[in-house]
Symmetry: C2
Subunit: 77 residues, 2 copies
């Protein structure tokens, strides 16, 4: 299975969702990207359709926005 | 692993998220509940903390609200 990508920004909502997603999907199946620390990947996340974090981009390119931690605009600062 | 419960109400956003979640988590690991057809389970969903559908309640009781299809109030009609 191709990997999903979990984008987050270190917020409490993000960290909680990260634990749940890794538990459910399996750690080897998820790449975790911290957009606060890795701002170079914000453009990639936007291109994938991510509007807010935490969000999971599935292997087939769908974006699942999970709960609501912060908008991508907030992450850009 | 205990099952997660995926609550939805048949909306397009719900159906799309359902396919993604079942693909990611594995069908045997998810119970799918259609609250529009099974209104008797709305109270259970509310008690679990579900505010909108689609939502996934994890085995440890966390609620992941995924994207936004409809509020639980709308589902009650």
């Amino acid at each position: 299975m191709e990997k999903s990508i979990f984008y987050h920004a270190g917020c409490p909502v993000c960290v909680s969702a990260e634990h749940d997603i890794i538990h459910l999907v399996g750690e080897p199946n998820v790449e975790v990207v911290h957009l606060g620390e890795d701002q170079g990947r914000i453009a990639e996340a936007e291109k994938a359709g991510v509007k807010s974090v935490p969000a999971l981009v599935t292997p087939n390119g769908n974006v699942l926005h999970i709960n609501f931690g912060a908008s991508l605009a907030d992450v850009k600062g």
